[in-house]
């Protein structure tokens, strides 16, 4: 075998690459337009996950919007407080302190509490299972199906399926809301991280049906309303709601809740 058979192609392709590279290099100098320095600095301070939680197509677009003043300096819900402050410094504004939000699964229908209506042997995906008559195999039509569409959607490894339902690790949650979008049952909600008393149920069934379907369900008994000293709780469609802006986290409602669907989180 002749060595030139290797050398010539290498040189030729290398040469083409070199020439094209040079042309591009020169073109970048000649045609280059000045990009606002702020864009690059802000871009470096953003997390770079391109999760889209801010509403822009990606971190690049958000950086551009922040630099142009179209978006506030704290528009990224994912980045840490420290980097938000740095971005605010670059932009010369004071960052508004925003309360950290975390995703919360409004269901406690564990394998134990909520039985299956039938055996589901289709594609292991919540989205597919929710299309089956009855909205999935779970006895409660509002509950978490536990196939983990949210786990796949989470880019930060914050969700695990424990005992048939999704559980969110709030220390890892960056409030990017990807899981909220991914859940076909819409049972994941963004709540303030500081809130500790939450209703862990999403069932709008009548009390009897709710109770039959799941032993952890909210039955709309309104005992919590009577317990609450600050009127933070309302019951609508047999489901209790806590207004987190009013809640003082005294935990009295959770104490008296007969099905323990109101939980206290540490």
């Amino acid at each position: 075998m002749d060595i030139t058979q290797i050398i010539i192609p290498t040189l030729l392709l290398g040469g083409i690459g070199l020439v094209l590279g040079l042309i591009l290099g020169v073109a970048a100098k000649v045609f280059g337009i000045k990009v606002d320095e702020k864009i690059t600095i802000v871009r470096d301070l953003l997390p770079g996950a391109n999760c889209g939680a801010c509403g822009y197509a990606g971190c690049d677009q958000l950086a551009k919007a922040i630099a142009e003043g179209k978006a506030p300096a704290n528009a990224c819900p994912v980045s840490s407080a420290a980097s938000k402050e740095q971005i605010a410094q670059v932009m010369g504004v004071v960052a508004d302190k925003t309360e950290k939000q975390v995703a919360f699964v409004k269901c406690n229908g564990t394998c134990e509490a909520a039985k299956d209506k039938y055996e589901y042997i289709g594609v292991k995906s919540c989205k597919q299972a929710s299309l089956v008559p009855g909205g999935g195999q779970k006895s409660c039509g509002y509950g978490c199906l536990g196939f983990g569409d949210c786990v796949k959607a989470c880019q930060f490894d914050a969700i695990t399926i424990v005992d048939g339902i999704a559980v969110i690790d709030e220390t890892k949650c960056t409030s990017c809301t990807q899981c909220v979008v991914a859940c076909p049952k819409s049972i994941i909600e963004m709540v303030p991280a500081s809130s500790s008393v939450r209703v862990r149920c999403n069932s709008l069934d009548a009390p009897k049906a709710s109770k039959d379907n799941c032993s952890n369900a909210c039955i709309g008994c309104k005992i919590c309303i009577k317990q609450c000293p600050v009127d933070a709780i309302t019951v609508e469609n047999f489901l209790s709601h806590i207004d987190y802006s009013k809640c003082i986290q005294c935990g009295k409602c959770a104490e008296k809740c007969p099905t323990k669907c109101i939980n206290i989180y540490e």
């Binding site: 030729l12 392709l13 083409i16 042309i23 045609f31």
Partner: protein
């Protein structure tokens, strides 16, 4: 002249790059949700394919053939197309910011569009001359634009239709694309 015209029309209708050769289906399905963006993508692809047909012919004929390195054409063409797209992006960014923002992300996406590489390789394998290559490239790109704009039009209509839940989104889109491909089969016998 008649040959060129036939080649041109054939590349648009009969050998439609998406619907008959099944190349470039990624942007075909991905960027066809609105007629406006579909047109933008079509224009960008037309621009790049026409230029790529021209330049890759020169590279092939005057660099690869003299050194008997025809077997390297794939990698050489990828090199040419990728740099070409980068170069075009730089030039457009400087000279026409309006066009640049209209094409947006689609321009860099074309770098990895198999329709571009596909048509360049088809040009070489069919032993087209320089003029034929450019005409074939331009026609193919127009065919791509037509297909993607047609699909975008259908998709905009479908939006307001009552589709069964199981068919919503991609399933109905794939069925639509499949029916379009079937319809384009009807052109097969047009030019012998």
């Amino acid at each position: 002249m008649t040959d060129l015209l036939l080649l041109f029309i054939g590349s648009i209708l009969i050998n439609n790059i998406v619907l008959s050769r099944f190349l470039g289906t990624c942007p075909f399905l991905g960027v066809s949700s609105k007629i406006k963006t579909a047109t933008g993508m079509g224009v960008a692809v037309t621009f790049v394919i026409t230029l790529a047909s021209f330049i890759s012919y020169i590279v092939y004929e005057y660099l690869l053939v003299p050194f008997e390195l025809e077997y390297l054409y794939t990698i050489a063409f990828i090199l040419v197309i990728a740099s070409l797209v980068q170069f075009v992006e730089l030039v457009i960014q400087k000279t026409s910011p309006v066009l640049y923002s209209a094409l947006g992300i689609y321009l860099p996406l074309i770098t990895t569009n198999c329709a571009v590489l596909g048509i360049v390789i088809i040009n070489v394998n069919s032993k087209y001359t320089l003029l034929e290559s450019v005409v074939n490239g331009f026609g193919t790109a127009l065919g791509f634009t037509m297909a993607i704009v047609l699909l975008a039009g259908i998709r905009e209509r479908i939006q307001s239709n009552n589709i069964p839940k199981a068919f919503k989104g991609f399933p109905i889109l794939l069925i639509t694309a499949g029916l379009m491909a079937l319809a384009f089969l009807g052109f097969q016998g047009m030019i012998k």
